[in-house]
């Protein structure tokens, strides 16, 4: 993670109003954002759409990326933009799975996940993924963002920046989020029960 923007070819044609720097950011971070969105959304189509929406938000919020010199090549600014993008992407993806949730859940179980089928994938794996996503969809947004981003490889400092929390609290928040996830996941998948019951330290904000 924490990809650094490369000085990419500025291929934008003159009639477009999109600033060149925006393109560099797009190209540098697109794949990370896509992967992040995919983890939650579960289909390529939805992930692409969420990634596009994420960058649209960035595009619309030039204050995030335009107020410093050397956008895209300055590591400090780039990290800030990345943090912002990750927060927005996970927020959108979370909203997506929640919003789609209730009424479509059954369809997802049967067909929705199928659209993404990798022939090598066994049905069981797909079920597991679906169960994981469903468990995530029931957790508070902040916990889901934390789990996703941590798993995407962000350091505690990066997590703190992306989620706007104190760096010293990341360990606690992460422990809580993991406990909350375990609890929900095990409840819906008794077969996957991990050793030992979740402790009461698992709750809280």
């Amino acid at each position: 993670m924490g990809s650094i923007a490369l000085p990419l070819a500025k291929t934008i044609s003159p009639e477009h109003t999109v600033p060149v720097d925006f393109d560099a950011l797009f190209l540098a971070h697109y794949q990370s954002v896509f992967r992040l969105a995919y983890r939650l959304a579960g289909t390529r189509e939805a992930a692409e759409d969420l990634a596009q929406e994420t960058f649209l938000r960035l595009h619309r919020t030039p204050g995030i990326w335009q107020d410093q010199e050397g956008v895209g090549s300055d590591p400090v600014n780039d990290r800030r933009v990345a943090a912002w993008l990750y927060r927005v992407a996970t927020n959108l993806a979370y909203n997506y799975v929640r919003g789609r949730g209730r009424q479509k859940r059954r369809e997802d179980a049967s067909t929705g996940a199928m659209s993404e089928v990798d022939p090598a994938d066994m049905a069981e794996r797909m079920e597991t993924r679906l169960a994981v996503r469903q468990a995530l969809a029931t957790l508070p947004e902040r916990q889901v963002q934390l789990l996703l981003l941590r798993h995407a490889g962000l350091s505690y400092r990066e997590l703190a920046e992306a989620l706007d929390v104190a760096p010293g609290s990341v360990g606690t928040l992460l422990a809580r989020a993991e406990a909350a996830f375990e609890k929900v996941y095990n409840r819906s998948n008794p077969g996957n029960m991990h050793d030992g019951p979740a402790r009461r330290d698992g709750e809280g904000a």
Binding site: T17, R102, Q103, E182
Partner: protein, 389 residues
Amino acid sequence: MNEHYDMGLLRACLDGELLPAEMAQVTAHLEVCAHCRETLAQLRGRAHMVSAAMGGLEFRGSVPQPQQALARFREEIPTRERHSFRWDDLQRRIHMTGRNLFSPRWRPLTAAVSALLIVAILFTIAPVREAAADFLSLFRIRKFAVIPLDQAQMDRLESLAQQAEGAFGEPQIVREEGPTQVVAGASEAAALAGYPVRTPGRLPEGTRLEKIAVRSGPAMHFEFDRQAVATVLQAAGASTDGLPQADSIAFDVDVANAVLQQYQVAHPQSSFSRLEFMQVPSPQVDLPAGIDPIALAKTGFLFLGMPAEDAERMANSIDWTSTLVIPLPADAGKAREVSVDGVTGLLVEDARNPFRSSAVLWERDGVLYFMSGSNMDQRVLLDAADSLQ
């Protein structure tokens, strides 16, 4: 407990995220403390389990090429911006509130039940896909009115929406909403929709009709459990005055065929100028007996923090059976009445930059019109609206 480390620190220790000095302290402590060792083991097991679960979610195909995604992004900007009306905050908030309050199918309706919920529900309209269609899927609309809201009021509504989450169940779908059918032109659209289709007579030279389509609206039957509605209102600290006494509040909504037109507008100042135009016969809503919209509206205004006198006045000044009330965050959008198509309509614009996004809404002869323009001079929009034929 004091002599044990808290789990946050131990969790950070697992990830190697402690400073070297802290790390040394914790390590030394673990040597002598079985309790902390146990906690650490538990955290580790859980972290592995979560990590395994999350690992399964990873994308394993070939990731889309950024260059292609960027090309698509540029292409889609106008459409996406239109859907969100470009008012980011408004869009986000509406979306969140709407999602919390109702499943998508609830959206068109709650409006009719209580003015309070009308206010909340309308938050769902603009932003979501097919914005315009949803926007207008409400009772018999003859007029539009805007209620400007400040941040605190928006927050109150959001919290109400959160409390209401899932409280009302699902509506019965009498007739499913149809797919959007793209047609060749206005006459084909008219044949499909069942009524005459109007098109703008004046648009800048070089403007291109991108798409014309017809979409059939849903018919729905709603039954609110009075108790559920009352509980939500009470939990929010709002009054239940104005709710009918019957246990169940039932009503029907029927939305007719909508005709949508999209134009790529030739504009000297932008290559992203788009005009979107929708017309739909005003949807029908049969309201339940015994509902008192004025009392409900007053409740809503009080809930938003309006002084009693103002709430009373506002509630009485609006004809709730025919007015679509649009709550508009004051910092996101501005609205004013304009003369359009021979009637009085409402012009809503991006508060910061009307050029970016404006929309005009009006009703004429039982038909609702909604025209929005992005990246264009407002005069182009109004001129197009005024030249329908």
